[in-house]
Structure formats: structure tokens, C-alpha cells
């Protein structure tokens, strides 16, 4: 099957039902996307398909109907995405394991929403679990990133 991830095309020899998460991690070696629960409850596996945030543990390979972007494709240590830069500036991460998913959810929200208010942030970001409870800094980083994106 053909799969486009971070603008690169891949031929994938795998079961149609294999979740995108494990294709990314174990076949393509893109380990920035994390396994946390396997049932779309923690959000650690969040990626974008055509810009929309999805839980990659719940998307079968055969059902991927668009281009996939992972945390590695959003930005890099040398050229971070504005949302990643806000995460760096606010030192959001503690253990950091959920943060790829948090950042992917936030980036998709901001691309759609512009400058979200706290209620919108609550609604969208509550699907991403952080066991270290870095939430105050997540909220601050999202507001900061929204301002950066708005001023371009």
C-alpha cells in the first residue's frame, strides 16, 4: 500500500488493518509518535491527515485517505514549528512522552481556529492526557503560539 508521510512516499507491505501508529513506529521508524493506550483515550499518537488531527492508533493503514504529517514533519530541532517553539520557550515538557501528541493537537487546532479561547482549548485539548499534568504551561504555550501565528 502507498502511504505519504511528511511529504515522502512509501510502499508499505502490511495488513490493511494495521493501525497507522504501528506502521509509523515499527515499519517507518518514526518514533516521535507515541503509543500510550491503543484506544484513543490518551492522544499520545496524534498525527495529522491532511491537516486534521487524528489518533493514529485508531486509523487502519487502508483507511488513511490523505497525507500524513507526524511530529517529525511538523518541525525539527533546527527549524521548529511556531507551536513547537512556544513549547520550547515555555519549557512545557516534564517527562515529555505525551508532548508530541499535545503539539500535534494544538497545531491542528490553531491552523483551524486562529486564536482559540479557553473554552475551545478545553474542548479540543482535553483529549490529550498528560500524566505529569503540565496543563498550565500547555495552555500558556497555545495562547503564545496563537499570537505568533497571527502575527506571522
Amino acid at each position: 500500500m502507498e502511504l505519504t508521510v511528511n511529504r515522502q512516499r512509501h510502499q508499505i507491505d502490511a495488513e490493511a488493518g494495521m493501525p497507522l501508529l504501528w506502521v509509523l513506529r515499527d515499519i517507518l521508524g518514526l518514533t516521535g509518535t507515541k503509543y500510550g493506550c491503543g484506544i484513543a483515550q490518551c492522544g499520545a499518537c496524534t498525527v495529522h491527515i491532511d491537516g486534521v488531527a487524528v489518533r493514529s492508533c485508531q486509523i487502519a493503514l487502508a483507511d488513511v485517505g490523505g497525507e500524513v504529517t507526524t511530529i517529525e514533519g511538523l518541525g525539527t530541532p533546527d527549524a521548529p514549528h511556531p507551536v513547537q517553539q512556544a513549547w520550547i520557550d515555555h519549557q512545557v515538557a516534564q517527562c515529555g512522552y505525551c508532548q508530541s501528541g499535545q503539539i500535534m493537537s494544538a497545531a491542528a487546532m490553531l491552523a483551524l481556529q486562529g486564536e482559540p479561547d479557553d473554552a475551545q482549548i478545553d474542548r479540543i485539548m482535553s483529549a490529550n492526557l498528560c500524566r505529569c499534568a503540565t496543563y498550565p504551561r500547555i495552555r500558556a504555550a497555545i495562547h503564545d503560539a496563537a499570537r505568533r501565528l497571527a502575527t506571522g
Binding site: Y35, G36, A93, G96, A133, Y135
Partner: protein, 745 residues
């Protein structure tokens, strides 16, 4: 005590040894009260030098042996060394270092336990004092008990200072100058004429001279890194998906595995695996002790095949339901036998007999650790060697247990400690590592990465134990006259030591920690610990005994303040017998604008205090009872950690600890049915999510001794919240989670 004291007065010395092309600096058997080891001279390879700084032509490596599970330990250890070494820690390699007898003090453990009653040695004293788990563990190279910072504060800075001065001495000898004329900066020795010699060029010469021991540690006013808001070295990687955790490792030829193991105390009765054998990618089905593993060519295929295997468990002929736990705790409270009574002031019985007694029973549930990175370990084993890549807080126990399991010598076992995606105490266990070793034994020579499913994690946690406590108290003339609290719980210390090593005798102070050690001058004050039998294995969970006891004690105290018609914050300030703690309470009143419990219709404020791990921490929680449910609107936390070394991270630890405590208090419990927890994944164990997280104001004070902050933010959160709900609604909730009685937003 002067913070810039000369290290010669300390219980350790710092030396150096030559390594290939360079030099290693470190602490000399720092945990042991030894006479000056340099009288005998240092001979590399035979003496126990724990290296912290390695310098060769390729660069500078800082060794940070305490495991990093998100609390920032790796960075602060590097910063402590770098502060004195005069380098930018962000430019150095930071590694956890190997486990070996000379590196960690495994020998110390083996030589000193079990304790002889007449032994007055350091470890025996520590163990006997048994004040809490961290005290028992400090000498054993374990990460836990919020101990990394206080343990490393002088040791790591001294290693940096000795390295710096020895490098200066090497440069002085080369140039025919005096060491006093030289300076250092950014990894260079700087000559009087401004010429800079990189440390890497001086390493070989530094290895050949006697290390300079006569160093004075810099005063905080001279610090460049410590105490300043700096960017932690792992922040960029953790914001770009490039941080590698144990679960992310990959090796050529690596196989993948997953496991289903029997519930605690059970075993495998029957396995039907035919359907799994032919599934795509399945390499083999491997029986392990009390479980079954599937080895496959990727993780998902291993997990899929496991689901296709039918396993019948042989359950023990013992109770396996939650009710057995509550019954056991009640029975423990009803017996006259006590485990410990750390607080006994005045005459509680007489004081209670003099008037009306206020009585209450409190309960706290089992809680899962459930860090977000599922348990995993990668192992490659041959006839002569075993390599383990995993995140662990107890590397030396890993080595000992794997040696026993495999028959290999301890020197043949290497643990490569990995960055950890959360622990909260879970990585103090060995179960998953020993499983991975057994699986790897079935495919000698090939690396195997074993990953647990989240369901396996919930089914096989050793949780924070459930507890029941009974409080009795009396108030008179607007004062608390008596407080008597009896707490029943199984011993996490005995449970854990029994798994990782062997059971230790003596009372377990964690049974009363956070309740029996509080600095309150109540005239008749008694706290008693009753040890209940362990129905299910239990373990240390962030803040250990204080996690539950903070709630029991903090809520019952609030009941007594209410009965005496006292303001709870003023009441605690008036009762407080510890100056550092009183200043914490006063600061909390200041930053929270506290004027009392009342906060208007449907609103309330709660306050609680707990001194744990040497850190006094006090918190105020504000709630509003809204149409959508109870909402935490604001929260305030103050703690005193003596010296704030990493202000950005310290604030995160305090804020995160408080929210961790609030989330579990609201939403979480683990309940057992038929020998297994009923909660199987995060849909049934919500913890804290963003929409429930209030704005938090935190303040760190520096009046007490230097302490760590990974845990002390947790204990006051649950009682502050329950007390706030009482203030808002008049309802006393005496069991957790609060969601049993209250609907939260």
C-alpha cells in the same frame, strides 16, 4: 552551615583516574564513612571511584546516574557538575553511566544487610531509623524519595570543582605558572595573557597528577547556572519528537514482543495458542514464568497474536475482591497490635474522655501509577553476556536479579538506562525487565524489544495501597484539645523489598508518613500505624505514605478546626511548631489572599498542609459549585526546598505535583474483582485532564535545608480540595475519589 564549606570536611573525597586518552573525575566511595583513601593512593580498576566527569580528546561527558523520569534529574545533575567545572552543560554529553560494582555501591548493600542488631554502621543506622523509604534507599543508588538533588548537591559540585582545579594544575605545570594565576571559562583554562587551553587538551596530563582536593565550593552568589532560569537540555528534543525513550529503541535484527501474565499470585493453567501460531509476523510463542509472550516482527503483530491466545489462569485459593481489602484494613484497625506510634504527646485517652468526641472514618483507594510510556525493555543475551536497555530507578537491583535469573555473573550484565516517559514509582519495579530477559533467552543473540499493552499495565501494577483511618478528636474553648488518628494499610516497603530483594524486619514508617510526623503542637496528639496483611502487592506511588495520609490527616484536622470554630489556616499557623513550615503557611495566606473558607454562594476555599520528604508544602484550593458540576477555579501552593537550583523546573514540579494530587483525588481508583483490577485503560482512570486543571500560583521559599520536590507537592492537594468542597457545600467527603460523591465539571 556554610554552603561553601570546604569539601575536606565532608564524608567523601573526590579523586581521578586515567581513562583511555583522558581522565575521569569522581567521588570516592562517597556513601561510606572511610578514612582518607588517598593515603593508599588511587589505583585504577581496583578502587571504587564513581566517575562524574569524563574528559578526553572527543569532549566532555557528564555522568548523571539518577534516572530521569520527567522530574529533570538528568539535567540538574549535569548543571551541578557544570557550575563548578565552568562549562556549558548544554554542550556536554550527559549520560546515565554504567552499572557496575565499582560505579554503584552494590557492595555496600551486600555487605551490610541484613542488619545485625549490634551494628551501628551508617547503613544499619539508616535502615533501622527506617524513617521512610527514601531514607532506606539513599545509600543504594536508587532514584526516589525526592533525593537526587540533596544527595548530589555537594558531591556533584565537588566533582566539578576538583576536575576544574586539577585541570588548572595541569595547565600550570605545563606553562610553568602558578595555579592561582589561572582562570577557567567555558571549558578552557585561561592563562594570564588570555590564551585559552581547552580542557580536552589537558585531560591526559590531568590524569597523571594528584588531584587537587583543596577546593572551596562557590557561594550561591557566584552561580551562573544554578538558581537561574535556564532551558533544560531535553526541552528541544521533547518538543520535536526527537527525544528517544526506551520504547523507541531499534537495533538491526531486533524482534518485538508483548506479554500477558497471570494476575498477582496466580499462574498459567492452560494455554490454547494454535490460532496465534500461524498469524503473520509471529516468530514464536514463548512461555515465561506465570505468563505467555509472543515474539513477532513488530509490536502490533505481537499484541494481535497475544489476543488470539486463550489462557486459563489458576487463581490462588485466597480472596481476590476489593471487599477483602476493606475487611483486612478494618481488622487491622481493630487489633491492639500496632506497627508504629511515631506521635504520642500528652494523654489522648484522658483528653478524649473529658467531653464529646468527634469521630470520623476515612478511606483512600488503590491508585495505579500508569505513566504514559508503557513498561518496556529491550534485551540481548548470549551465553556470556546480557545487555538491557530500559528505564529503571534501581539499576543495581536489576543486575542482581538478572544474574540470579540467568546464572550470568553480575559483571556480564549491562544496564543502559534510558530516558523515562513518567514513572511515579512504577520504575522501581523489576517485573517487566525480568520478563524481557526470559523472552530474550528464547532467541539468544538477537535483541528483543518487549512492550506491554496499556491493559497489561493496568492489570499488573503494584498500586498505592488502599487505607482506612479512624480519627477521634475533641475541641474545647475554641481550641483543638486532642487528635488521635489510627491508620491501617499494608506495608509498601515490605511488599517492595520482598520483590526486589528480601523482606526487611521492623516497623514501616511509610504507614504513618505525612500524618505521624507533622509539626503541630496539639496538646494531646497521637498517630498510630497498623499494618494490614497484603491482599494484593503494593508499591511506592508518588509521595508514598504521605499520598494517602496527607488526605486522612489534613481532612480530619479540618473537621476539628471547623468544630472549634477556628479558621483552618490561622489554626495551623497557631499550632505550627516548626519555623520553616510556619513561614510556608504565612506565605500561602499572602499569595492566596486568604480570609477564610467562605467565598460566596456555592463557592468555598480549602487549605491543607503536609510536610513530606523534609519539605513543608501548603496549598489552597478554590471551588465553585456550578450548574455543570463542581469546578476547581484556582489553586495556590507554597513549598520550602531550601535552595531553588532550577527555578523553571521546580515550579513545574510543584504545579505538576499538585495537579497530579488533585486529578487522582477527583477521579481515580483501582478496584479489584476476581484478582484483577476492574480498570483496564485510561477510559476508566481519567486522572487530570486540561479542562479540569485550574490556574495555579506557586511560590518556592528558601528557609529550610536543601530538598527535592518531585513528591512533596502531591499530599496537600487532595485534602485541600475536599476541605474546599466542605466549605462550598457543607458536605464532608471522607473517601476518595471524590467523584463518588461529587460531580465534577
Amino acid at each position: 552551615m556554610s554552603r561553601a564549606g570546604r569539601i575536606a570536611r565532608r564524608g567523601f573525597l573526590v579523586g581521578s583516574v586515567a581513562i583511555a586518552g583522558g581522565v575521569a573525575f569522581g567521588a570516592w566511595r562517597y556513601t561510606r564513612p572511610l578514612p582518607d583513601p588517598f593515603a593508599k593512593g588511587l589505583s585504577p580498576g581496583t578502587d571504587a571511584l564513581n566517575p562524574y566527569v569524563l574528559i578526553d580528546a572527543s569532549g566532555i561527558t557528564l555522568i548523571a546516574p539518577r534516572a530521569d523520569k520527567g522530574q529533570g534529574a538528568r539535567w540538574i545533575q549535569a548543571a551541578l557538575i557544570a557550575e563548578e567545572l565552568d562549562i556549558d552543560p548544554a554542550g556536554a554529553r550527559i549520560e546515565p553511566g554504567p552499572v557496575s560494582k565499582t560505579y554503584y555501591n552494590t557492595a555496600l548493600l551486600q555487605e551490610n544487610l541484613p542488619i545485625d542488631p549490634t551494628d551501628t554502621g551508617w547503613l544499619a543506622q539508616t535502615l533501622r531509623a527506617g524513617s521512610d523509604v527514601p531514607a532506606r534507599l539513599l545509600g543504594l543508588q536508587i532514584t526516589g524519595g525526592s533525593s537526587s538533588v540533596p544527595d548530589g548537591f555537594e558531591k556533584l559540585r565537588s566533582a566539578g570543582a576538583v576536575a576544574r582545579e586539577t585541570l588548572k594544575q595541569a595547565a600550570a605545570m605545563r606553562e610553568g605558572l602558578s595555579r592561582a594565576d589561572l582562570r577557567t571559562g567555558d571549558g578552557n583554562v585561561i592563562l594570564p595573557d588570555g590564551q585559552r587551553i581547552p580542557y580536552t587538551e589537558l585531560a591526559a596530563e590531568a590524569a597523571s597528577i594528584v588531584p587537587v582536593q583543596d577546593v572551596v565550593l562557590r557561594a550561591p552568589s557566584q552561580w551562573r547556572i544554578l538558581g537561574k532560569p535556564v532551558q533544560r537540555a531535553d526541552i528541544v528534543a521533547k518538543s520535536t519528537g526527537t527525544q528517544r525513550y526506551g520504547i523507541d529503541l531499534a537495533f538491526d535484527g531486533m524482534l518485538y514482543a508483548s506479554v500477558r501474565a497471570a494476575p498477582a499470585g496466580s499462574s498459567v493453567a492452560k494455554v490454547e495458542a494454535a490460532a496465534a501460531k500461524g498469524m503473520r509476523g509471529v516468530h514464536s510463542i514463548v512461555p515465561i514464568r506465570d505468563g505467555i509472550a509472543v515474539v513477532a516482527d513488530n509490536t502490533w503483530r505481537a499484541m494481535q497474536a497475544l489476543q488470539a491466545i486463550t489462557i486459563d489462569w489458576a487463581f490462588p485459593d485466597l480472596p481476590g475482591d476489593q471487599q477483602a481489602v476493606w475487611d483486612g484494613l478494618t481488622a487491622a484497625l481493630d487489633t491492639a497490635q500496632i506497627d508504629s506510634r511515631p506521635r504520642e504527646i500528652g494523654d489522648v485517652e484522658n483528653a478524649l474522655a473529658a467531653g464529646a468526641v468527634i469521630e470520623a472514618e476515612y478511606r483512600v483507594p488503590f491508585l495505579a501509577h500508569a505513566p504514559l510510556e508503557p513498561m518496556n525493555a529491550t534485551v540481548r543475551i548470549t551465553d556470556s553476556q546480557c545487555e538491557i536497555w530500559t528505564g529503571t530507578q534501581i539499576p543495581d537491583f536489576v543486575v542482581a536479579k538478572v544474574a540470579a535469573l540467568t546464572g550470568l555473573g553480575e559483571d556480564s550484565i549491562q544496564v543502559h538506562n534510558q530516558m523515562i516517559g513518567g514513572s511515579f514509582g512504577r520504575r522501581l519495579e523489576l517485573d517487566f525487565i525480568l520478563q524481557a530477559v526470559q523472552i530474550a533467552q528464547s532467541v539468544p543473540g538477537r535483541p528483543v524489544k518487549m512492550i506491554w499493552s496499556r491493559e497489561e499495565d493496568f492489570a499488573h501494577d503494584q498500586p498505592r495501597p488502599a487505607q482506612i483511618a479512624r480519627g477521634r478528636g475533641r475541641v474545647a474553648n475554641g481550641q483543638i484539645v486532642a487528635l488521635d488518628l489510627a491508620i491501617a494499610t499494608p506495608s509498601v516497603t515490605a511488599s517492595w523489598f520482598g520483590r526486589v530483594w528480601r523482606a526487611l524486619p521492623g516497623p514501616d514508617a511509610t504507614i504513618t508518613a505525612g500524618a505521624g510526623d507533622q509539626p503541630l503542637a496539639i496538646p494531646n496528639y497521637r498517630v498510630t500505624g497498623h499494618r494490614a496483611d497484603e491482599v494484593f502487592p503494593v508499591s511506592s506511588w508518588r509521595s508514598v505514605g504521605a499520598s494517602g495520609n496527607g488526605f486522612l490527616h489534613g481532612c480530619f484536622l479540618d473537621e476539628l478546626f471547623a468544630a472549634a470554630d477556628l479558621d483552618p489556616l490561622q489554626g495551623m499557623i497557631d499550632l505550627c511548631s516548626h519555623d520553616v513550615s510556619r513561614r510556608v503557611l504565612n506565605e500561602l495566606r499572602e499569595i492566596s489572599g486568604w480570609t477564610g473558607r467562605a467565598a460566596g454562594q456555592g463557592r468555598g476555599r480549602g487549605v491543607a498542609f503536609c510536610l513530606s520528604f523534609g519539605v513543608p508544602c501548603a496549598q489552597v484550593v478554590d471551588v465553585a459549585d456550578t450548574a455543570k458540576g463542581m469546578r476547581i477555579t484556582r489553586a495556590f501552593a507554597v513549598a520550602d526546598i531550601g535552595t531553588v537550583l532550577d527555578p523553571v523546573n521546580a515550579q513545574a514540579q510543584l504545579s505538576g505535583g499538585m495537579l497530579f494530587g488533585l486529578g487522582h483525588a477527583m477521579n481515580c481508583e483501582l478496584t479489584y474483582r476476581d484478582h484483577v483490577p476492574e480498570q483496564t485503560n485510561f477510559h476508566e482512570y481519567q486522572a487530570m485532564r486540561l479542562h479540569q486543571a485550574p490556574e495555579i500560583t506557586v511560590r518556592l521559599l528558601e528557609n529550610g535545608p536543601l530538598r527535592g520536590l518531585g513528591e512533596p507537592g502531591v499530599p496537600p492537594a487532595a485534602p485541600a480540595l475536599a476541605n474546599a468542597i466542605f466549605a462550598a457545600t457543607g458536605q464532608r467527603i471522607r473517601e476518595l475519589p471524590l467523584s463518588r460523591k461529587v460531580r465534577f465539571v
